[in-house]
């Protein structure tokens, strides 16, 4: 039975996860062509061994060379990384105090507070991003409010800027930061802090010497959980960002759907994957270490 339990999901993942990647890799080495499908060469098995050899001899790294030559792609990769790093940091700044407050709240409140964090996570991602369009638009609620209290006299351009993208990422990924940080802070014994203060630590140094080291595993996990998906984000930059917002997920989408250049889109995907492999491996190591420590 265990054999069947392994074989069926294994076969599924090989066909629908591994093989598709081989296809992406192959198409990234092909050339763009005006045909259906829009690339050459296609493998012609009818021609036998000659066909296979002809097929391989036509593959090259032209698309990757193209990516290094065209500034757009370099800038898009760099700006995706920059947006992801900064928004991960901002999410930490917003999420940490919330997680800290939750962990310090009376025990009977905590399930309800947890529920309040999880509920937005279950609510549609698209709807949560959409909600911000109405807030950040020129005639939106935030501008109306700011003009009403008299801080500004002209509406600020907030929608379709990078600022809106940061707000969108922080807002939608916040539960991913709060939950792991809360999980590590909740286990902390508050008497440790009292002990530190009794021993002459100021509140601030007690925080740095006691709370922070204990929270660190949760903080690291939360940062990875926000950073990794944020790099390839597509929905947020395309709804909240402007024409100047360069993010690689959006570039890939446009390359594929608007320019119909499948080989370049595939090459963009391969490079994105190579960039993300480093944080993904680091994250899995961190998780494995935490599991070991937990045992």
């Amino acid at each position: 039975m265990l054999r069947a339990f392994t074989a069926i999901p294994y076969a599924w993942l090989v066909v629908l996860f591994l093989v598709p990647f081989a296809i992406v890799a192959k198409i990234s080495l092909s050339d763009y062509a005006i045909s259906i499908p829009p690339y050459t060469p296609t493998l012609d098995l009818a021609a036998g061994w000659e066909g296979v050899r002809a097929f391989f001899s036509e593959l090259d790294f032209e698309n990757f060379v193209f990516l290094t030559e065209d500034e757009l792609y370099w800038k898009a990769y760099l700006s995706s990384l920059q947006i992801a790093i900064l928004s991960t940091f901002l999410t930490l700044c917003v999420g940490f105090p919330i997680a800290y407050g939750m962990a310090r709240a009376p025990e009977e409140w905590r399930p309800a507070l947890m529920m309040l964090v999880i509920l937005p996570f279950w609510t549609s991602f698209l709807i949560r991003v959409y909600a911000w369009i109405g807030i950040l638009a020129n005639e939106g609620f935030l501008n109306q409010f700011l003009m009403w209290i008299g801080v500004i006299s002209e509406p600020l351009q907030m929608l379709n800027t990078n600022t809106a993208v940061y707000i969108g990422i922080v807002y939608t990924y916040l539960p991913f930061m709060i939950l792991p940080v809360y999980a590590s802070l909740e286990r902390m014994d508050p008497s440790l802090l009292e002990a530190a203060e009794d021993l002459g630590c100021s509140r601030m140094s007690a925080f740095w010497h006691v709370t922070w080291p204990l929270a660190r595993p949760g903080v690291i996990a939360g940062c990875f959980l926000v950073f990794i998906p944020a790099v390839g984000e597509f929905v947020i930059p395309s709804l909240l960002g402007g024409s100047g917002t360069l993010m690689i997920g959006k570039v890939l989408w446009e390359e594929f759907f608007n320019n119909r250049d499948w080989p370049v889109a595939s090459a963009v995907a391969i490079i994105l994957l190579l960039i993300l492999i480093v944080p993904i491996v680091l994250f899995q190591r961190h998780e494995a270490k935490e599991r070991e420590a937990g045992r």
């Binding site: 039975m1 999901p9 629908l16 709807i127 984000e233 997920g249 899995q284």
Partner: protein
């Protein structure tokens, strides 16, 4: 230490305000009479009528629900099998690849998963439609299910299974009559997660959907690109309502289950 400090109260209040105010605004303004979304012109439920009469939304919603139901069901079966196999089998050829393939889709950018599946469907000549979306959603959702189920299996007492085997069960009977009832809450949670992920997905569905099948997120996305509309506010409110009821119901059920299990354990202890 029982009392919350001012700092904590402020950070919790601001934090939850940040999380909820955007959604509250959305809900309130879905009852706005005016077509201009940001100007209040009186209470009205007319936009809900518009949503319910909108055939395109209804068709898309029906496609979405069917896709979510089938993909969540298949993903739950496959994910549970994978989790059980990983937990119970020692070393076998290709184990590393297997565990890698189970975890990779969790962190894979959606644009890459979508692109690669689309290229597969084109390569094998499968017409894009409901079936291809179901296949795509099943593939990434089964990985989430398997993570949820394995976390339950870690704390599962293997000797119960061994007892069933000693009493003459086949391994499959032992799995269905002993293991499955015990891990059922995790399996149900996995199904719910898979269902929600599928309902929610825009990117992978956009790549794998054909002209014959449009899901609700695709529909919402294409109209949202043109700006805010009261109709979308109403539709969003309906979705938020359904999700809230579902999540609260699930948490009440699981809380009841936990307290029943605690009571059973206490009674068993008293009988001893």
């Amino acid at each position: 230490m029982k009392r919350l400090s001012t700092f904590n109260i402020v950070s919790l209040t601001l934090g939850f305000a940040f999380l909820y105010i955007p959604m509250i605004i959305l809900i309130v303004y879905s009852f706005n009479e005016s077509k201009l979304v940001t100007v209040w012109a009186g209470f009205s439920t007319k936009w809900y009528g518009e949503v319910i009469r909108n055939e395109a939304f209804l068709d898309a919603a029906w496609v979405t629900v069917r896709v979510a139901f089938f993909s969540a069901t298949i993903a739950t079966i496959l994910g549970t099998m994978a989790a059980y196999a990983m937990m119970r089998r020692g070393a076998f050829v290709g184990r590393t690849l297997f565990s890698g393939m189970i975890y990779a889709p969790l962190v894979m950018p959606e644009v890459i998963t979508g692109l690669s599946l689309l290229l597969l469907f084109i390569a094998i000549g499968l017409d894009r439609g409901i079936v291809t979306i179901i296949l795509a959603h099943t593939t990434f959702a089964m990985c989430y299910v398997s993570v949820v189920v394995s976390s339950r299996l870690v704390s599962f007492d293997e000797s119960l299974e061994e007892a069933a085997l000693d009493l003459g069960c086949t391994p499959f009977q032992a799995f269905t009559s002993v293991t499955l009832p015990i891990i059922a809450p995790a399996v149900i949670a996995g199904w719910l997660l898979a269902f929600t992920l599928s309902l929610d997905d825009l990117v992978i569905a956009s790549f794998t959907a054909g002209p014959s099948a449009t899901t609700l997120p695709i529909k919402i996305f294409s109209s949202v690109r043109l700006g805010v509309s009261p109709e979308i506010n109403a539709l969003s409110t309906i979705i938020i309502g359904i999700v809230t009821v579902g999540v609260l119901a699930a948490s009440v059920i699981s809380k009841k289950q936990i307290s029943r299990a605690a009571r059973d354990a206490a009674m068993a202890e008293r009988d001893d």
